[in-house]
Amino acid sequence: MIRRLFVALMLAGAAPVSAQTFAIVGGTVALGDGSQPIPNGMVVVRDGRIVAAGDIRMKLPPGTQVIDATGKWVTPGIVAGFSRLGLSEVDLSAEGSDDTTTNGPFSAALDVTTSINPLNTPIAVNRADGITRALVAPNAGKSIFAGQGAVIDTGADMDPITAPRKFQFVELGETGKDKAGGSRSSAYVLFHNALREAAELGRYAGPIQSRRLEAEERPAVRNPNESREYGLEARRSEDVLLTRFDAAALVPVLRGQQYLFVHVEKARDILNVLDLKREFPALKIVLVGATEGWTVADRIARAGVPVIASAVNDLPASFEQIAATQSNVGRMKAAGVHVAIGTIDDTDTRNIFWERQYAGNLVALQRVPGATGVSWGEALAMITSRPAQAIGMGGEIGSLAAGRRADVVIWSGDPLEGSSAAEAVFIDGVRQPLETHQTRLLQRYRYLPRRDLPEAYRH
């Protein structure tokens, strides 16, 4: 009450609104850091960054735009923990709408950034539902190495890349087995050989300067990767399997300068990956999938390896997911594992907006006897700050802490209820359009009775 009065006083002397600074007041604010929501909180944004948020009172400079969120909820934008957002307009039998490698000479060297289409409909649909950033992984083609994934924003502009080449994605479970010719043994030999070839390149080759556009020209976080192009004089052994580009792409992985996302589901496969971590201590491994993670949760926690998991996989959908349960995420969390939620093999090109419903379902498990759920605050964190932290970007995106990028969503209600909707979405402090192909169709067909002209004239 006091705070509301204070804001009212500030408004009384308000000058014309500034696009640079604004405050969202009166809403229930959830910071995305695992804490519980704060009634009647405040979020202040300046120049695309969060100034302060939460249970705060801040003297606003004159001219600050104040957005009343009374009765609404305010959170950081949802961060898709693992997705293929922006890679496919239509998934099946629609030439030109998909941009993933199923066949081609390269693997680890592939860089997903050139494939991302910021004008893709699924980006708009997910933006309209409060998803503001996404970790985007390439699909594995012929090799266990799928290539390099990126972090993108979903803003309505032509600059989608937040962090290019943030991680290398490798399949070491059932899919990896298939790519490697039929066995996990083969996949692991391929993996070891690839790191051997990268090590050899890294040892002999001196990097040449890339002339790529870099941070000053793109609104992106500077990537810790060094250039992946190496001089012709770099010596290689005779018995190589990888192309030069692919081997070079694994040098930053080997040196721990690029994250390594490893998709595995089965308990045994998870332990194999933890062994890799012991063998190559510099690797910055993130487990993706880990449906059976709960059965070896203490060992994942001890290894300090983060997990990006499917939230509610509970079917023995394959022989690597026999122990599937919706309690997987809760049990790993309880064992001390850093867990984020992603859409792994779950319409990863488009239905990212299901993540908040899934997060709500994890909260529901707290009231199911024998199940392990997570708190509301932690469930929200798993779709905001936790994926960001898993790749060392927690200081940049995923929460409403001071200094973070101002990715903010105002919701009609509790965002973990599927019935709530995003009413305002800000990315880097810029208010986003929420119109989509779908909302336009609704307007056209909301009323069917025949009029003076066909439906095609309603636009």
Partner: protein, 468 residues
């Protein structure tokens, strides 16, 4: 030897009598009377499990027929609903009383579109039995002969989804995919043990991308949408001729026509005994299928997926066709490109029969949440439908489309006691089934690990009997 002679004499006497009888009538030799073909050769062996007279009090009750009771009471006994009403309802003697304060009671959810059992978990080639994709016209196959009763998915649909009845359909590779089967979600050793007693058969038909892709890629008909329609019409013409042959036989007797299993199914459709469940996404294609149904004289019970149903909701209402839809699936193929999140409420709002469906072993576990999303999206578009009316999308309308509304789908006295007690508002992501009854037998209790089905497949495996 003597005995044999006597028998021969008797036979001759009988023959003589028959001949003389004909001569007396003065007509042609009479045809042998028609023999009726058994239309239910794989009958249901489902028998309801024992229950106890039960009264749930102080719950919020949606009866599935559009009514809501705050502080409501639901009474069931002997497998059937006895009464639904307010707090004053009397209880039968020795009834178990359940306090439903803060909880919700609804009819069990009915999924009108599932492939559990015919595309089971684990999803491996050996168990992939949903599409007989060897010819686009396969009305002779019956989904029940593919259903693996040990699919672990059935138990998830029950305990997480509150699904008590479901229709298992063949896939959509074919124009005529085969017969569907309606199951009670009660574990059994055989599919017969799950079959919903008295439920009519359905026939899965498909239009659009799938048949033309599957066969066109092999350079077979159909390769186009016009090929889809032509081949489907040609098949109905054959079915009409087949039906005429059998109608004549049943009327006049004589030599039995040669049976054709495929045509038997189509004849059943033309006789109104088998219901049409038509996979169709686009508005223009649904309109074509409606015209086809009129051309050959059958009725479409439901369009399935019906992503563009909102564009022709008036047509659906006028032709009394239900639409089974998702809340928000879109764009995974071209024919789903024009999805809108308000599809279900728009169809309902036009006066047509709207349903939610899963087509998915994960989605079937949260159909109530799918309705919650669609309902809220509709309200934001100005379509104000109450919570209790929206429950019709989950049980009443699917029961109607399946031809079992006289048996289940609402909490009407005398109907099967297929009941879910939810631990909160079922339109919340925070809510789960607490107890589920099928025909009045308690098949799930969240507080009793022994009231939870575990499939044969999961026995002795990691996580057996775990909360899934």
């Amino acid at each position: 030897m003597g005995l044999s002679k006597a028998a021969a004499a008797l036979a001759l006497a009988a023959a003589g009598g028959l001949l003389s009888g004909c001569a007396e009538l003065g007509g042609k030799p009479k045809s042998a009377p028609a023999i009726r073909i058994n239309e239910d050769p794989y009958p249901s062996t489902y028998v309801r499990y024992p229950g106890v007279p039960t009264v749930i009090r102080h719950a919020t009750v949606f009866d599935g027929d559009g009514r809501r009771y705050d502080d409501g009471t639901v009474v069931f006994a002997d497998g059937a609903i006895q009464a639904v009403g307010g707090p004053g309802l009397p209880a039968p003697a020795r009834a178990v009383e359940i306090d439903g304060t803060g909880k919700w009671v609804t009819p069990g959810i009915i999924d009108v579109h599932s492939h559990l059992g015919d595309y089971p978990s684990p999803s491996v080639e050996s168990l992939s039995d949903g599409n007989e994709a060897t010819s686009p016209v396969r009305p002779e196959v019956w989904a029940e002969h593919s259903v693996w009763p040990q699919d672990p998915g059935f138990s998830r649909a029950l305990v997480n989804g509150g699904v008590t009845t479901l229709q298992i359909l063949p896939g959509s590779a074919n124009l005529f995919g085969g017969r569907s089967v309606v199951l009670k979600n009660v574990p059994a050793r055989t599919v017969q043990g799950m079959k919903f007693p008295g439920a009519p058969y359905g026939l899965k038909m498909a239009c659009g991308e799938n048949p033309k892709r599957v066969y066109g890629s092999k350079d077979n008909m159909p390769q186009t949408r016009m090929g889809n329609i032509a081949l489907t019409r040609q098949t109905w013409i054959k079915a009409q001729a087949y039906k005429r042959k059998w109608d004549k036989y049943y009327a006049n007797g004589g030599d039995m026509p040669e049976r054709d299993l495929a045509m038997d199914t189509l004849k059943g459709v033309l006789e109104g005994k088998i219901l049409i469940h038509n996979h169709c996404y686009r508005a223009d294609e649904m309109a074509n299928m409606i015209d086809m149904s009129k051309e050959f004289g059958y009725h479409i019970a439901a369009f399935h997926h019906a992503v563009e149903a909102y564009k022709i909701a008036d047509l659906l209402r006028e032709n009394d066709i239900c639409a089974a839809m998702w809340a928000d699936w879109y764009g995974f193929k071209m024919e789903s490109y024009d999805a809108v999140k308000e599809n279900i409420p728009l169809v309902h709002n036009s006066g047509a029969c709207a349903m939610v469906h899963s087509d998915d072993p994960n989605g079937i576990q949260r159909l109530n949440q799918e309705v919650a999303k669609a309902l809220a999206d509709g309200r934001r578009a100005g379509i104000n439908i109450t919570d209790e009316i929206a429950w019709e999308w989950l049980s009443r309308n699917p029961a109607k489309a399946l031809g079992i509304l006289d048996k289940t789908g609402t909490l009407t006295p005398g109907k099967m006691a297929d009941v879910v007690l939810w631990n909160g508002n079922p339109y919340s992501d925070y809510t789960r089934p607490e107890r589920v009854w099928i025909d009045g037998a308690e098949m799930y209790d969240a507080n009793d690990p022994k009231r939870r089905p575990v499939s044969d497949f999961e026995l002795g495996q990691p996580g057996e009997g775990d909360v899934k």
